[in-house]
């Protein structure tokens, strides 16, 4: 249905000199949907967001908000509101004045304005902070205030530009949960830009993984995680171990030509392969004995990560790490079996 599309990007392109920052990106955000643009730095995710917000101009393509074309409009005529990484609160205005700003620009009548300021500060739990200046707020409170400022104008779409990346970990997790709660409550439409896959997975209705200005894959977080469309997505999402092997007939060697004791359930065609397995999917030592895919590798060192032990293993030039819940009774220097099932492995040639 066309009607429930809050934001639509159609073949949007943005170039900086020789660099294509956003390369014909098409994306539709449904009303009430929370879509995350996830990607490494320089992948074009922030540029895409700024194209929507109007801080950058696009070279070709169309952007529509609620069905109306807006890509020719200046930022101040677009029904968007951005939450910046720095918060970008006006330092000479109090929290309440900051929240009022967008409402004043939209000429909201005074009584309604006051109600909306109160509501906005209420939902971000900044009640009682109305007359504080931004310099009197903590990092987390600043971002809450920025969120309130954007929420108060009730935009067609909220744009989050890595709003949590400047905060420390515990605060990040806390605010992340809070934004999710707010989204569940208020059902606003949003684009959220981040390079933190944890944030992307935890908050989003859908995740768009970006690389080199293109969307590599878009889908529900589970879909992205369990069924990556390509090697980039597989590598970028979650931890994985890469094994680069060369297959010639029945022998398998590493890149340097050293023979590997690697058994695979289904044989691979001749050539160079990159095999990926998530560290949590490995089975070790005795548990690996019946695994359809097995590699003999030497334990290099063991890290204690709290919930699991991480075994760093080496076979020829291959280096893998496997997470295991407890001790396996083998120590550094011993050669053990590493096993995994075929559906846990991705292979790329």
């Amino acid at each position: 249905m066309k009607d429930d599309t809050a934001l639509e990007l159609d073949q949007v392109r943005r170039v900086y000199g020789p660099v294509v920052a956003v390369d014909n990106v098409s994306l539709a955000v449904k009303r009430g949907e929370f879509v995350t643009l996830l990607g490494p730095s320089g992948s074009g995710k922030t540029s895409t967001l700024r194209l929507v917000g109007g801080q950058e101009r696009l070279h070709s393509g169309v952007i529509r908000i609620n069905g109306a074309r807006i890509d020719h409009l200046p930022s101040y005529e677009r029904d968007t509101a951005t939450i910046f990484q720095s918060g970008a609160l006006f330092p000479h205005k109090t929290v309440a004045e900051n929240v009022a700003y967008g409402l004043r620009m939209r000429k909201v009548p005074k009584p309604e304005m006051e109600t909306r300021i109160r509501e906005a500060l209420d939902i971000v739990q900044l009640k009682g902070f109305e007359s504080r200046y931004p310099s009197q707020l903590s990092g987390g409170q600043k971002q809450r205030a920025a969120l309130a400022r954007s929420l108060a104008v009730r935009p067609a779409i909220l744009l989050f530009d890595e709003p949590l990346s400047a905060l420390d970990l515990s605060l990040r997790l806390q605010l992340r949960a809070e934004i999710k709660r707010l989204h569940d409550e208020l059902k606003f439409s949003a684009i959220y830009v981040t390079h933190d896959q944890g944030e992307a997975m935890a908050m989003s209705s859908r995740v768009a993984v970006m690389n080199h200005g293109r969307i590599e894959q878009i889908g529900k977080p589970e879909q992205i995680f369990h069924h990556p469309a390509n090697e980039f997505v597989y590598n970028f999402i979650g931890e994985s171990c890469q094994m680069r092997v060369r297959v010639t007939g029945s022998t398998v060697t590493d890149r340097t030509g050293q023979h590997l004791s690697l058994t695979l359930q289904s044989g691979l065609a001749d050539g160079e392969w990159r095999l990926y397995v998530r560290p949590s999917r490995f089975r070790l030592a005795d548990a690996a004995a019946e695994a359809p895919n097995r590699l003999k590798a030497q334990v290099q060192f063991i890290e204690f990560l709290g919930d699991v032990y991480r075994y760093h293993l080496k076979a020829g030039a291959l280096e893998v790490f496997a997470d295991h819940g407890g001790s396996i009774g083998h120590t550094v220097g011993e050669t053990i079996d590493v096993g995994w099932s075929t559906q846990d492995m991705e292979r790329f040639q």
Partner: protein
Amino acid sequence: MTVVDPSQDAIFEAARKRIKRRNRIAPWLLLVPALVIVLIFFGIPTLYMARMSFNLHFDQRLYVPGFTVEHYVNLFSNPLFTNAILTTTVLSLLASSFTVVIGYAFAMLVWLKPAHWRLMFVGLALCPLLISEITIIFGWWMFFPKNGLLSYALLSAGLITNKISLMYTEFAAFVGLVYLTLPYCFFILLSIFDGIDKRLIEASGDLGARPFTTFHEVLLPLTRSGILVAFSQAFIWTMGTYATPSALGPDTLWTMGFLIQDQMLGKQNWPMASALSMVLVLGVAAVMLLTSSLKSKRSSFHV
């Protein structure tokens, strides 16, 4: 086992008091070098000047020790002096305001431009500071006269039909003063702009403010203290300077700087020159107090 020894307690108490006392006087001690320099180079000469302004003057002698307020009475009753005070103040106010406007626009432009333009603009702004005031005056002497650059340029552009001279006009003096103080205003304002997060402009636009509203609601309040500082320094400078308005302005343009020089070297009347200087110093101080009281109490904003 801890044994509370009352004598030990007293020792600690004494030590605590000593530290407290030291913390109280430390800031003052640290201020001493600066204070001594200020007193020797500015305080004592000013006091000397204040005393000088009450000395007597007769018989073509530079000054005769004594006490009189006749110079001050003269200063505020003689139209020669009152006019000079008025002329200087008006000229300085105009020149400083204009300088701040140009400097503000220029600083904002440099701040908004991408970083690679910055060096060029900052270099350009530095150029006039490398040239002495006298050399700059010689430059203006080639610019304003009938056969000067300005006349030639206007003629070539077809804006005028006969050569004109703007040399020795109030306008020339005004331009000279603006040129003199512009670099300082520019750097003061640029440093203020540099302290502002550029995202604020984006945030303002994002929330629906048009560019002019953004300027008026965000940039202007955040640069207010800078504007006041730039204005005060331009005003101090233009009030006190003597060479530029004397060399470029008409013979009838008698600024306070000119009169002080005239009383000191021409009329050999040191007490009168001192009285004029005192009025100048106090007037400038009054303007500085006024501008600093206009500064918002929250003079610095940390994002």
